[in-house]
Symmetry: D2
Subunit: 266 residues, 4 copies
């Protein structure tokens, strides 16, 4: 009466494992229709360094805020979800490769499935929030995130002129971005870690249309009891001072997540 | 400009780690208001053994189906979520302790937060679904689960007589249940595992009111494209034959998740 | 080839009518499990009078704010929804009956079905919002309402002592409340009304448990573009000054909507 | 202390009326980004005539099934909602105009706001359902509708070749469609009607891209208790026999709802 399921060493699984795994193949999943709003602000370097692991060097005391309405998501049969991500430009100094990219401080997503995969497979700091569709009145675009009906973050963009074909092409020359993560799985029943390491998760974003603009964010810090599980995340980020905003942009295009190129950073 | 966040060895973290962790304390979290519907059926032993890891012995070829409407959830400030769990009675034979309990084959939950914690901390096989509130017409109770508006599982219960105080008290004598999990984290960018082991997650359920009844389940297997990420889970479970149903019950009470007593099973 | 559906004069229908109606029966629908939080504040009489139709006399310059988590709703097969209602005490002076009761200024509800029926059948001023389950940290209870992820109203209650059996019984002696509405259906393709009249909608609320407490509300007025259809409602109500709060209460019990006793007020 | 709000005769209001109305202007609201899937089947004429009011003549025993993902909705500040509509081609014979168009049998929509307006202002037979985003695997497109997690309708489309520019232009020559409704408001507290009449609601749909294809629908009739308020709608429509399917199509384009041209049909 012994169970007959056994994990095959060379296969890849997701929990629950016992329904079977698959041989490893380097997955590249396409997001065919992306609408993104990208804001950027300079913040206090000391405050920011406190939430960057010491294996990374901060390249600039900047925070990139990205809202994305992800549609035509391949692995969802063309379904959709939305996210808001805050990240900073870093260099990984845990080894000698000198890799540069973005370190996401948090990624809110409005569906559980991409959260689970992103956390367990790539160490992406994904957590749940309800995230509104981008809406607009004329060229004023806006969206926001809430938790159990409590808004904690508003994004606003005044969209200005659209970039010409050449400018978009130039932008697409640097379409590849290294995202870094920190994958962490705790011990059970005592302190300490079961798994804790930096990760690399390369992505590509191809723009079809780009507008420049001016944007800003507004935090509504929640009380501890309103959001026990994200209180520290929201209050720490809301406390990052905005020294100045840099030019914002809105983009329509597509993305490719090179999940198969993800790797542990030793 | 080096990041200043460092993981403290004896602390416990959740992703994203860089907002800080906490000293380990054995958490016991209370679910103050639980409404559960429990069905049970005998199935084909061979079919069931295929989805039980070989470190477990199947005690009976039975599947317990539990719907729970969890309210007054402590760690949600009294918030609520719902779940549907299928599990089988097993003995862990990976060591000499001879622990007996339930091995969950899958747990659908309708909120991302409990899914994340249950998977990463306890190896619980939690995945997302929309799950309806239990409703009823007289003593016929029903609920169901769907994914992107596609129903895949219906539960029905004909509720019969309520148990007397003594019967409820007797039931509560065996309120403690060992749940087992299999925590698995894959390698990155290649096959194989980063973490793979059995877990023990003790829980307690105290009934205030219990009714017996007769119940059944009905699967609506989805097509692969309707649910790429759960197709194998749903179709495998839907294929488990129902040889006979055993008596069902409905309960109102409370639960205690002894997260702090969770441990790795070597 | 002429259609064969004909409205029977003595029947009652809902849109779409062509699936058939029913003989009139005086419906009394039960809400078996109600949790309500009731706040009350004195406001500026002049400001309040502006949003009370002239067929009503304002009895006191008071606003009752009621959150209700409605469960075991008969006509939903025991399903649930939530609402937040603001109302003021009035006397109907459009005829000589001298009826007294509550005039709801607005009722936000988180499901479309009760909104449709309440508007078309009883002239209740129901509109949609997402409304959070009541949550709490100790005796501090809170909930809120949002529209497309934008919070516009928070409710807070410090719950104090529970009333004794006699006090609850006394409260239940005046369980019957006259709610008034204003049913209005516009002309099509030009100004003016197709239907416009006051309504009476009697309800009963039976308390099982009552706690007194202190409460307050907080508005987050939305911009016009954030909520084009409710902007005027929210901004007008948010502008009502709070002169003082009166004692609040929380109740658990049941309700009976005497839909069959509803009537036009000539 | 008398209320000071008075309805101005020439204004237009929505419930709640007391927040004020507006002078009538002929509203034309634009839906800037529409994705629609249109199926069509021949059914039994007698069965269909039973659910067509006798003021209409059925032109063909056909049912048009339309799914629409409505985006860039003007009156939602560019927000979105989805609908599934079943309609039949009719001539209005209640007067001598001889107007031809489509009579919607039902329109499920996944947001309360458009439901309320469509019913009260135009007599459109709108009711609530959760409606999935259109998804696809290659050229197989699918979507569905559910109520409290119970799927009741699936739509499938095999998309074939795209139409050329000229064919699309020809299609757009007949972009204007007369939709008919039946606006009905019941009496209160007794049988009979307060308002009951046919309506005309002209709309325009401009296609940018059109594909032809083959489609089908599948009903999952719910039990009475699963959906008390829509049981008769769903079971009646599910009983309409499908004699044969006609060519289907998918379209991307925009729509204009000429609300201001709506009128009562005497």
């Amino acid at each position: 009466m012994r169970g007959k399921f056994r994990i095959r060493e060379e296969y890849v699984y997701k929990m629950p494992v016992h329904f079977g795994g698959e041989p490893f193949v380097p997955v590249r999943t396409v997001y065919g229709d992306m609408t993104t709003i990208c804001l950027k602000f300079e913040t206090d370097q000391e405050a920011l360094l406190k939430i960057i692991p010491e294996d990374f060097e901060l390249l600039q005391p900047m925070v990139n805020v990205q809202f994305a309405n992800c549609r035509e998501v391949d692995w969802m049969s063309g379904g959709e979800y939305r996210l808001i991500q805050l990240s900073s430009p870093v260099r990984y100094v845990g080894n000698s490769e000198g890799l540069e990219g973005e370190y996401p401080l948090v990624i809110w997503e409005n569906k559980a499935c991409p959260i689970i995969g992103g956390r367990e497979e790539d160490g992406m700091p994904k957590v749940f929030a309800d995230i509104a569709v981008e809406r607009h009145s004329g060229d004023h675009w806006f969206t926001c995130a809430s938790y159990e009906c409590n808004t904690f973050l508003n994004l606003d963009l005044e969209r200005k002129e659209e970039l010409g074909t050449e400018d978009v092409a130039r932008l697409n020359e640097s379409s590849r971005i290294n995202f870094f993560g920190w994958r962490y799985i705790p011990n059970l029943g005592k302190g300490g870690t079961s798994l804790s390491h930096a990760t690399l998760y390369p992505q590509e974003a191809i723009a079809r249309q780009v507008w420049i603009g001016e944007g800003c964010i507004k935090w509504y810090p929640l009380t501890l009891e309103q959001n026990l599980v994200q209180f520290r995340i929201i209050s720490t980020l809301a406390d990052l001072p905005v020294i100045r905003y840099l030019p914002a942009k809105m983009m329509k295009g597509s993305s490719r997540l090179n999940v198969g190129d993800s790797r542990l950073l030793p």
